[in-house]
């Protein structure tokens, strides 16, 4: 028996044509109070959380018959590569597009709880503002410097080993799961604190990705300097939740250790060499 078959046989068989409950933490806007609302949804075959939310949008009436506003959520690709629809489902962070209702609520009357991510300011309902996450990528210069006035030609050759390592790191979609699960990463609505509050596993991993790139390496020193200060790699508390919740299975804890190693070498080398 393959593992897939084993998993299917051990899971509860989904009841066709059942009605489930969606319990959603709602909020009308930034600074407004939150409230819970529950909706009854008739589940179609192969439904995911997004298709259930579409049903709520089409008929915004709660389970106890009160008319309400449609629930707002963010989404993009609907195939777990953009990260926009990330939310907290039954207490754990993940993408809602790849969350299948058959797995989460296979029985009649089963309930699924939806909350917006708690580490980012809520825009409305399940939609959060992830600006700080992208600010963190600017902090570590997560790009390859190729701007200039003339054609630079081909980049240096890269070994297949390095390619294989970098490919996995490049799969990061900036969804925010690693940040939501991190006990060292806490909500910070004040943008002036974003340069000194914990940067998070995703940006540390991206710094490693671009420090490994033959051209991106030119900014390695600047990236390590940015990660040496307050809110940098040293703020990691090694709870290692990030790697557990990463939907792309990126070895985030290896990236943190790798940047730790680069920082150690960089700090010692620059202490002796600095002018």
């Amino acid at each position: 028996m393959t593992t897939t078959q084993a998993r299917q046989s051990s899971a509860r068989r989904p009841v066709p044509g059942r009605t489930i409950r969606l319990r959603i933490l709602r909020c009308d806007g930034p600074g407004k109070p939150s409230r819970w609302e529950t909706f009854s949804i008739k589940v179609e075959s192969g439904a995911n959380i997004i298709s259930c939310l579409q049903q709520v949008a089409a008929n915004p009436v709660t389970a106890d018959g009160r008319a309400t506003t449609p629930v707002v959520w963010d989404s993009g690709c609907l195939e777990e590569v953009c990260g926009a629809c990330t939310m907290v489902i039954n207490g754990k962070v993940r993408q809602s597009c790849s969350c299948l209702v058959d797995e989460y609520a296979p029985g009649e009357g089963d309930q699924i709880t939806l909350e917006p991510m708690s580490k980012f300011p809520v825009v409305r309902d399940l939609w959060v503002d992830r600006s700080r996450l992208f600010h963190a990528l600017r902090r570590v210069k997560a790009w390859v410097p190729i701007d200039g006035t003339y054609h630079l030609g081909h980049g240096p050759r890269e070994s297949p080993d390095a390619q294989a390592t970098r490919y996995v790191l490049s799969e990061c979609m900036s969804c925010g799961c690693c940040l939501e699960a991190c006990p060292q990463y806490n909500v910070e609505p004040d943008a002036s604190a974003w340069d000194t509050s914990f940067i998070g596993a995703h940006a540390i991993s991206q710094a490693r990705l671009f420090n490994m790139h033959p051209t991106g390496r030119q900014l390695a020193g600047e990236r390590l300097e940015a990660l040496a200060g307050p809110g940098g790699v040293n703020d990691c508390g090694n709870a290692q939740n990030c790697v557990k919740v990463c939907p792309k299975h990126i070895p985030l804890t290896e990236s943190i250790a790798a940047i730790g190693r680069q920082s150690t070498v960089h700090a010692i080398a620059s202490w002796f060499a600095r002018g």
Binding site: R138, P183, N234, N241, T253, E254, A257
Partner: protein
């Protein structure tokens, strides 16, 4: 704020901000050297109440317990009378513990535990590392305050620890009196048992995370291997630590006092110590000249 602004702002800021990396790494380092090294030596000395009897078995007639007491008290006397630069060692330890505690508590306040939602083993260790830090600070203060600085008002029964009578006064301080175990003694003993366990965990887990912080263990498998090594070390230290606490709680202070009184008193006073050292040195010189 643009990226350029943030870079220009980087070297400025408070003392903590300007030396952030150094302070963080010193926090990590002090946990291992000198604090961690001291913990290992300390637990090794304390647990000699259990295994010291094996080393002393040919000399002691009073059984393994008395022999353990004799071994332990000789060790403590040796530390207090013969280890050089004791003041320097103690000062270094105190400065390190103060530094590690103050920064550790400050760093711990920057996190918010979420083990209620993410019940991973690593997440529990993250939380326990911080709890054990808080308890550890309180315990070390109580432990050193009562046994070293004479805060006898915090000791049930008011026993004052003194190094020539290291075993009997320690047992009495843990049990609450020289005679039997009191309610206060049970409370102190339980506090010791819990705090020693938490501090050993704090060291073993800290040793594991330090390898990630410094970048020694990068791959997941290397982190796992080092994790097993730290767990084995932690289990050994836990056996020594808990064994010591149980050993002293079970020890009869009066019987230990008899053993302590029977030991060579020459080490107790500085003058006698000096005289005996002098005597040995002369004897050594004499032997050497005979040999030539």
């Amino acid at each position: 704020m643009t990226t350029q602004d943030s870079q220009a702002a980087a070297p400025r800021g408070s003392f903590l901000d300007r030396h952030y990396f150094l302070l963080r790494r010193l926090h990590s380092l002090t946990g291992i050297v000198p604090i961690g090294v001291f913990l290992v030596v300390h637990l090794l000395t304390n647990s000699s109440i259990l295994w010291g009897g094996v080393a002393e078995r040919h000399h002691a007639g009073g059984g393994m317990t008395d022999a353990g007491v004799a071994y332990f008290v000789r060790e403590v006397r040796w530390i207090n009378e013969q280890v050089p630069h004791l003041l320097l060692i103690e000062t270094t330890l105190w400065v390190s513990i103060l530094f590690h505690s103050v920064l550790g508590v400050y760093y711990a306040t920057t996190g918010r535990s979420n083990t209620d939602r993410y019940r991973y083993q690593g997440n529990w260790r993250y939380r326990l590392q911080r709890i054990s830090g808080y308890v550890g600070v309180a315990f070390i203060l109580y432990h050193v305050g009562t046994l070293r600085w004479g805060w006898t008002f915090l000791v049930p029964g008011g026993t004052e620890w003194s190094y020539p009578f290291a075993a009997s006064t320690l047992a009495a301080a843990l049990r609450g009196s020289m005679d039997g175990i009191t309610v206060g003694g049970v409370a102190v003993s339980l506090f010791y048992f819990a705090a020693v366990g938490l501090l050993v965990f704090h060291f073993a887990n800290g040793l594991w995370t330090a390898a990630i912080t410094w970048g020694l263990t990068v791959s997941v498998s290397a982190q796992k291997r080092w994790g097993y090594a730290c767990a084995v070390l932690g289990a050994g230290l836990l056996a020594m630590g808990w064994g010591s606490v149980i050993g002293y709680v079970m020890l009869d202070p009066k019987r230990a006092r008899v053993v302590e009184m029977s030991l060579d008193p020459g080490h107790q006073t500085g003058a006698a110590e000096k005289a005996s050292l002098e005597g040995r040195r002369e004897a050594g010189v004499a032997r050497e000249s005979e040999g030539m």
